[in-house]
């Protein structure tokens, strides 16, 4: 379990089944697996088809470090067995997978909660930025106040979309 990186930032796609298989491999204490996959929509503020592509920039080093800290926080807060985060960067198109959070635990409640916790944390504290390509040109995506509120549910202030 310890030999596999808990966080991967990559341009290439990921295989959900393979990631989950690797995460629970050889751990007979696992009784629950919960995963979240974020994908690229073809719309954001505008109408259908408005988002032609999405470019993701990040802060190499800090990205991995911040997500590692989120996983540590998840382990401290929930009784989980293992957590994996994969996040893609570079140019992505509608329907593409962007992010994976997968969690294993003995019982379902812990993995459900930890998965949402890590995702809420990542949305407001991991240094990624999205730029949309639209028919009107390229624009940086605005942070959402609702994402700060999602993290606040866990008792953590985000102060991101201020």
């Amino acid at each position: 379990m310890a030999a596999v990186a808990r966080v991967r930032i990559q341009t290439q796609d990921f295989d959900l089944g393979a990631e989950i298989a690797a995460l629970r491999l050889g751990d007979p204490q696992v009784g629950a697996v919960c995963s979240f996959v974020g994908t690229v929509r073809d719309r954001n503020a505008g109408g259908p088809g408005e988002v032609q592509s999405l470019e993701l920039e990040h802060y190499p080093g800090m990205t991995e470090r911040s997500i590692e800290a989120m996983i540590d926080a998840a382990h401290a807060r929930f009784d989980v067995r293992a957590v994996r985060v994969v996040h893609r960067v570079g140019v992505l198109e509608p329907l593409d997978q962007i992010v994976l959070v997968a969690v294993t635990s003995a019982h379902r409640s812990e993995s459900f909660q930890a998965c949402e916790f890590v995702m809420d944390y990542l949305k407001t504290q991991a240094p990624f930025w999205k730029k949309e390509q639209t028919p009107q040109g390229a624009q940086w995506v605005d942070a959402r106040v609702s994402d700060d509120a999602a993290l606040a549910r866990w008792g953590i202030r985000a102060d991101n979309a201020i």
Binding site: G38, L56, E57, H58, Y59, G61, M62, R65, S66, H87, I98, V99, M119, L122, K123, T124, Q125, A126, P127, F128, W129, K130, K131, W140, V141, D142, A143, N160, A161, I162
Partner: protein, 84 residues
């Protein structure tokens, strides 16, 4: 006098026109450093002005204006994050 390694990301990087710089500064805190950059005027003053949505990191951890600058610090300025 200390040397800081500054990184800019996303819309701030684009507007400033470069992604890194090395600066010798008397700034004691992150806020002092931000003020020093604002004092350059132009795009720095516009982008980093008080009240603008700017987030900062010190040695790759999110930090506030009161954070003390250690020697050879890596400091980053960027807009609110939008990953996931």
């Amino acid at each position: 006098m200390t040397t800081v390694h500054i990184k800019y990301f996303a819309s701030i990087r684009e507007a400033i026109g470069h992604s890194t710089e090395v600066l010798d500064t008397e700034a004691a805190t992150l806020g002092d450093l931000r003020d020093e950059l604002i004092a350059r005027g132009g795009v720095y003053a516009e982008l980093l002005a008080p009240g603008r949505a700017v987030r900062m990191a010190l040695n790759q951890v999110m930090a506030g204006e009161g954070a003390a600058l250690p020697a050879q610090a890596e400091v980053a300025f960027f807009p609110p994050v939008t990953g996931g």
